[in-house]
Amino acid sequence: MLSLLKRYREVVLVVVLAVIPLGVFLAHARHPSDRTALDRFVLTVTSPVEKAIDWTVSGALSTWQGYVWLRGAQDRAVALSRRVNELRAENAELSQLKAENERLERLLAFARSKPEHRTVGARIIGTRMDPKGLQLVTIDRGADDGVRRMMPVVTADGVLGRVHTLGGRSADVLLISDRNSSIAVRVERSRARANVRGQGAPGPCRLEYALRSDDLIEGDQLVTSGTDGVFPRGLPVGQVTRVKRGGFGLYQAADVLPAVDVNRAEEVAVLVSTEVPGGLPAARAPEP
């Protein structure tokens, strides 16, 4: 027997090399519930080896694909780079649209929160903000759209200014920061009255005519009082940042940070009809 085995050992080896993989295959193929103890033993023994071989072969194939077979890789890289640039541009455009949408939503919410005012939406199409002179922006709505002189112009954050000069399809808005702008306000907390005047430059405005005896502290919110015949009451104007109370005099002064950043405003609403308490006209245009 031994001599027979010795004589045919090579044949035996070849048969073993064929039969073992077939056994492994059949053990794999059987449904788990039908597996015998031998099947489970075979799978237990061969699984780690198979995993190691799989890991090696897949690693070798990925190395080949990633480092050796790079045919067409440059073309793909160029095409992908171009696509990335397109997507970046598209993304920037979408971001702008999203931001604009958010601003418009806020403006719409502001307009809806004040049903007593009829508004006309407008977009700022030009600016003239001389650091030491006129503070104007141009909007794309004018007399043809029902806009009139002295009408209040607001954003969702609060007062931006009032209509100054009119064209058919556009209008200039005198900003809150202009020296000629003076808005009657109230301190929201203490209801004290005062005026907010621009200083001729984008940035802080000045609180005037606040009685020395009035309760005014830093951080106080200012809203329109509705007593100037231009702005209806209750629109946010700004926040008191620094109170200056001298040793004498009737009034105290303060710096006011406007509620609207005039440099960043893009979409605005013109209040074309307002119901001012006391039956005053909504917008009283002075004689030119």
Partner: protein
């Protein structure tokens, strides 16, 4: 080259050819057809090495094929050893070392391997999930393409692996 080096070298060659066939087929045909460039290595081992060395080499190439195919382990290993035996048995009547003979053997071996894989998988798989015989058309195309590429692979293997001297064809040494 000693048998100790020839078998690992054959494995490396098979791995390289596996990677090459995957790249070529996916790039040129988008995976519509496949190539079995590792099968000529098994045929070459059948023709140019002693039976034990060839069987070990064929089994190891089969292990690589199993790993690359991702199917149940053992199927292609078994078929590789069977292909080796069939080629050794069938190569006697004609000049298998000629280009045409080698290409014919590689084409036939590829077809038999595909056919055997379908047959065995159908045998162990439930009828609803079993591969259809329609795959034989794909196997036939794969065999023809592999046969076409076989002479070039043989040329390379002859130079890299260096054939052992074997006088008699057949299964028994």
């Amino acid at each position: 080259m000693t048998p100790l080096l020839r078998v690992p070298a054959a494995m490396l060659a098979a791995l390289l050819l596996l990677a090459l066939s995957a790249s070529v087929t996916s790039q040129l045909t988008g995976g519509a057809v496949s190539l079995a460039l590792a099968v000529p290595v098994i045929v070459w081992l059948s023709l140019e090495t002693p039976v034990v060395e060839g069987a070990i080499g064929a089994a190891l190439v089969g292990v690589l094929l199993d790993a690359a195919a991702g199917g149940p382990g053992g199927l292609l290993t078994f078929l590789s050893v069977m292909i080796l035996l069939v080629v050794r048995a069938g190569a006697g009547p004609f000049d298998a070392r000629s280009r045409l003979g080698f290409a014919l053997l590689c084409g036939t071996a590829t077809f038999l391997m595909g056919f055997g894989a379908i047959l065995l998988t159908r045998y162990v798989t439930p009828a609803s999930a079993a591969p259809g015989w329609g795959l034989l058309g794909r196997v036939l195309v794969e065999s023809l393409l592999t046969a076409a590429a076989a002479p070039a692979i043989r040329w390379a293997l002859d130079r890299v692996l260096v054939p052992a001297h074997r006088d008699q064809p057949g299964i028994l040494p």
